[in-house]
Amino acid sequence: MIKIKRLNFRYDLASNFHCSVTNHRFTLKCLPQNTARQKIEDIKLFINGVEYRQNATDSFGNSVVYGCISESHDKFVVSMTGTAFTGLDIFEEFQPDETKSVIFKYPTPLTTPGNGIENYFKSLELEKFPREYEKVLHIMRELHKDFAYKKGETTVSTTAEEAFNKGCGVCQDYAQIMTALCRMAKIPVRYVTGAIIGEGYSHAWVEALCNGFWYGFDPTNDLLVNNQYIKISHGRDYSDCVINKGIFNGYNRQELDVNVSINDEQ
């Protein structure tokens, strides 16, 4: 049965610049969304030294906060707290209008399959599964078995095909390979950024459209998305869901420190 959880979450980002920077413009996609499965309350977002900030929604419906810090600074600190009620349902969204999901059917530069993924796709023999949900579930199960979790082997710009050929990577790679495979099966699929209890860092998984419902699948953990997950944003691939984008003046090296914590109150 569905079990509702009340989760208190906290997201901290600290960027330390080796030399001061000015004219820093940032765009953050860190605010969790309300979906059929989760409801978000009491969000507090703090950004240090910010001169102005604005809220917007991107073309996928994700919340965006953006703004500017003109004065010289050597630290960019963002912290967000809030409460999420998760497990309200087993799907994220009901979307019967097919034209709204068509953009999630076609490959993107990060998820275009090459020979490696194409051959793997054939080996999955998805024609044996009549329903979309079963196909997606099979893709998740098999990919989880055949791809290894290993940090430091891939970067944020590694494509699904490159990661697949390495045979190992992180949650972003699992999610992008799964995205490529579902799209080859003509199933609309979106890349999701969020967080999971006990991980300490942001997480990535996918949502697939099955019979009009978007369901979450986590190939890294071989799990259906449940009340342990807080969704932040979705898009066609990683590049649509970057949590923190920034541009500033000043030659620099920066160290980024990100911390996510989720406390289960029960």
Binding site: S59, Y66, C68, K105, Y106, K245, I247
Partner: protein, 437 residues
């Protein structure tokens, strides 16, 4: 008209002194070369131009309706007039623009429509350019220099004045302006069309700037001058392509863009000319569907036709292309500027087989066209007239009403055997005269 020939070299010298040059990157090197001007104008009779004018207005109106539909309700896809693959797998469709309505709902303010005339006199549309079409400045400045060197020609001949382009452009900027100054944004002096950017700024009174002097604050765009004074920008005629426009929304590595410009645009606080996302309408694969758009949106028959085109995505077209391969021109829809275009009969047997396999694997990526028997026009070479292939880029401006500039850029191929007239491929240009009676 002969006095025009006498002064041809003077005009070319003046053009070079004014900086009418084309910058070309080849093998990582930047080279500027002159854009050679030929003194023999292309002449279009009044009645013929009126026919072209009607057809061009109809086409651009349909394209603007298409763009508003595609970034809105997508009815043309729902009604299956255009298959969804052609929209959503195209790199021209920008998801970021979905649902964004530009000021006054105009997407293509300045459209450059390329036409060719066949030997039987029929005009065909070859290509639509709805992103940042360039080239209007060249016939403008050539005309004014020719008027100076041979005023008697222009006193005798009744032709439409083409120096009106600057006023037309200014009206377009003023019409969509959301309150503020007009600016022309150039990537800088190393851009192929820098002369044009500076010439338009001078002629329209808009401020010429790079992205560096523009800032976005509280969702408004400001121009900051060298003294630090700020002026709000209401219309931004950008000569930088979509992907470099705003590093926070498009390519993150763009150093010529304006961070958060797209947010100001989304809120309706600045007009961007042309609207971002127009690449979906001038995609070579979408070109095939423009006559269908004219019927769909305007319920009219197209006045000007496309060159006969086949889309191998459809099985009957694929069969035709395979059986008539040697008679067709093949175009890769993902390329521009005369690249990715070849004649079926130019391939060796092995290359042909290799290409056909590629075509079968990615049918959506290519279109094929019948070779049009171009009407050659004369150019002046070594003191003599010689026939060359040429096209015509017509400029269509939309500011609530749609107007065609009474001139145009005629580009010709300097190589007698070549059909490719793009300036990036070393072609030259002519003035285009529209007779006024």
């Amino acid at each position: 008209m002969d006095e025009l020939f006498e002064h041809a070299s003077t005009v070319n010298e003046l053009l070079s002194r004014y900086g009418v040059k084309f910058g070309i990157y080849k093998n990582g090197q930047f080279n500027e070369q002159l854009f050679p001007f030929d003194p023999i104008p292309r002449i279009i009779k009044k009645a013929e131009f009126e026919h072209l004018e009607k057809g061009l207005i109809q086409r651009v109106d349909a394209l603007n309706l298409f763009l508003a539909d595609i970034y809105g309700n997508k009815q043309i896809v729902k009604d299956k007039v255009i298959p969804e693959e052609f929209i959503f797998s195209s790199s021209g469709f920008l998801q970021q623009c979905d649902g964004v309505v530009p000021p006054k709902n105009i997407f293509s303010h300045i459209s450059g429509i390329d036409l060719v005339q066949a030997k039987d006199g029929t005009w065909y549309i070859l290509e639509d350019n709805l992103r940042v079409p360039s080239g209007a400045s060249y016939p403008m400045i050539a005309r004014s220099l020719c008027r100076r060197t041979s005023p008697e020609t222009f006193a005798r001949t009744k032709i439409e004045d083409n120096r009106t382009y600057a006023d037309m452009l200014k009206e377009v900027m003023n019409f969509v302006n959301t309150g503020g100054i007009n600016v022309i944004v150039t990537p800088g002096r190393y851009n192929a069309a820098f002369f044009e950017h500076s010439y338009f700024a001078e002629k329209t009174g808009a401020v010429l700037t790079t992205g560096k002097d523009l800032v976005v604050e509280n969702d408004n765009v400001y121009y900051v001058d060298y003294q630090g004074n700020r002026q709000r920008v209401g219309a931004l005629y950008r000569r930088i392509s979509d992907e470099f426009l705003d590093p926070m929304t498009f390519r993150e590595d763009s150093v010529i863009g304006i961070p958060h410009l797209f947010e100001a645009y989304k809120k309706g606080n600045v007009a961007i000319i042309n609207a971002p996302g127009n690449g979906i309408a001038d995609d070579k694969g979408i070109y095939y569907f423009v006559p269908k758009m004219i019927k769909y949106y305007l319920n009219q028959e197209p006045i000007l036709n496309n060159a006969p085109t086949y889309v191998p995505f459809y099985k009957e077209d694929m069969d035709y292309v395979l059986s008539h391969f040697d008679d067709l021109v093949i175009k890769d829809v993902s390329e521009a500027g005369g690249y990715g275009v070849f004649f079926g009969n130019s391939l060796t047997k092995e290359k042909k087989e290799e290409f056909i396999n590629k075509l079968k694997a990615e049918p959506r990526r290519f279109i094929a066209q019948e070779v049009i028997d171009f009407l050659d026009i004369d150019v002046f070479i070594d003191g003599k007239r010689a026939p060359r292939k040429a096209d015509l880029r017509a400029f269509v401006l939309s500011d609530g009403t749609t107007k065609v500039w009474k001139s145009g850029l005629t580009r010709f191929s300097r190589n007698p055997d070549s059909f490719i007239v793009n300036s990036s491929q070393g072609g030259g240009f002519k003035d285009t005269w529209i007779l006024s009676q």
